[in-house]
Amino acid sequence: MNDPWHLLIDLAIILILLLGIWRFTTPQTARSGNFTAAFALLCALGVVFYGNSIHAPATVLLALLAGSALGSLVAVRVNMIQIPAMVAFQHGAGGIAAFLTSFVELARDSGNLAPVGQLSGVLGIVIGAATFSGSMVASAKLAGVTRQTPLILPWHNWILGATLVGICALGLLAGFASGPAVLYGALGLILLASVLGVVFAIRIGGADMPVLISFLNATAGLAASFCGIIIENRLLIACGATVAASGSILTHIMCQAMNRNLFRVLVAADLRPATAAVQVHESSAPPQVRAAAPEAGPPAGSTPIERAVQAVRSAQTVIVIPGYGMALAHAQFEVAKLADRVKQLGKELRFAIHPIAGRMPGHMHVLLAEAEVDSDLLFDLREINADFPRTDLVLIVGACDVVNPAAIHVQGTPISGMPILAAHEARQVLVFNMDEKPGYSGVANPLYADPKTILVLGDAKATLGQLLQVLA
């Protein structure tokens, strides 16, 4: 592993990979960045095939082809709502590959491994297997195969703790054992770690999914790194570490966007009310919101759609706030059409995207890109939040928690202190939501009761369709 040529080649491949990531700054350059990263992996594959004589090349090729065919088939067919489930599933596939490789290496060669190699093999198995089972749970939740709500077992933290202690004990035993004990220890670890992943993932749900999926991204990278230490391969270590860094950053950003720390999201989730709605009293709404009356009051007795049409017609500046409810209603194409129509009417229209809108980091951006919304119209919370007081109309589609003013004005709720899009500061608010129920956090939204808010309840695809018909 240590001859200088080998080192140089590995270094070059790592540099190509980093160059690929470096290109991820605009959608235009990111595409070549993606190709560059893929090229780096291709080079690595070439080096492995060139430098080693492979027994059973037919088996290797067959496995490669089968996996690649399945991968490309799924990549072509998946739509953007399914992306989080798909990515979670792939984290799981990466986890399996990492723990299987570590396991075989450990079982094959336990007599000759250095203690560090043996220990990191154990770690690779544990992290890989836990990533695998956790990702399968996450993927099932995201794909709608199982319920999205958190499932909390009795004594959940105790079960989690006991599994962890068991893994540590068995891991130390297997890490320092020799002979067949290593094999049985490793098998036991795979089992325990899989249980850990499931117990860990089942109680995370709904709007916390972006944190879970980012976290699994990081652990999949870590598993690859530890697998790299046992087989003494620098490329695995480097690539795994880069992925772990990426997952850590995304996890941190998602937690920040919810103003919660990682520990509370992942381990102490049962502290928050999952089903019981937190009531927000009328008096807790900010006084300035109460005082601001709509400038062009719609005639009384008209239907919500008529009032909505009038609101859109009289507005000059419009900001659209999409939430995951929009994707659930498959309404992103209607939203895109509405945006086109509103712009045709000569109005200024932008989209405000909350970091946790959707089910994984940046999910809302790809959902809207699929509906052919111009990505230049999309603005992040920090870029656009100061503009709401100057905005005539805010159009909320399927979002609740990310526009809930209770996050600012009420203490002690699960969303208190969470940065929100300041929709309540606009002159008029139009809400296209399924119902008036609170969002995932369970905190009632005082914005719905505001006199300047027009609520158009029901399936957003249908209600937006009606609005479009009148505006056309």
Partner: protein
């Protein structure tokens, strides 16, 4: 020991450089980024292929082939989906 130091420094340097580079990625690219890094994490495919360069039992070969297939699924699927997403972003600028 020298190996261990080398491996530890490879990990640390890659983590830090990766961290610095990825901090610059704008939120609109976070989904493609995760999908791409996901494909990169299946670099374990190299390890799985290397299992076929050493003596293994039949059972271990089966596990190795399974690891190769799953990692290949992850690599190819990950890069292909990322490209599809980025093409969607691209459409308005052509």
């Amino acid at each position: 020991m020298a190996d261990l130091v080398l491996m530890a420094s490879v990990f640390v340097v890659s983590f830090v450089v990766g961290y610095l580079l990825i901090s610059r990625v704008p939120p609109r690219l976070h989904t493609p980024l995760m999908s791409m890094t996901n494909a990169v994490s299946a670099v374990t495919i190299l390890g799985a292929i290397l299992l076929f360069a050493v003596e293994t039992t039949a059972c271990q070969k089966v596990l190795g082939a399974l690891a190769i297939a799953l990692a290949a699924f992850n690599v190819v699927g990950g890069f292909a989906i990322t490209d599809r997403m980025l093409r969607m972003f691209h459409r308005h600028h052509e």
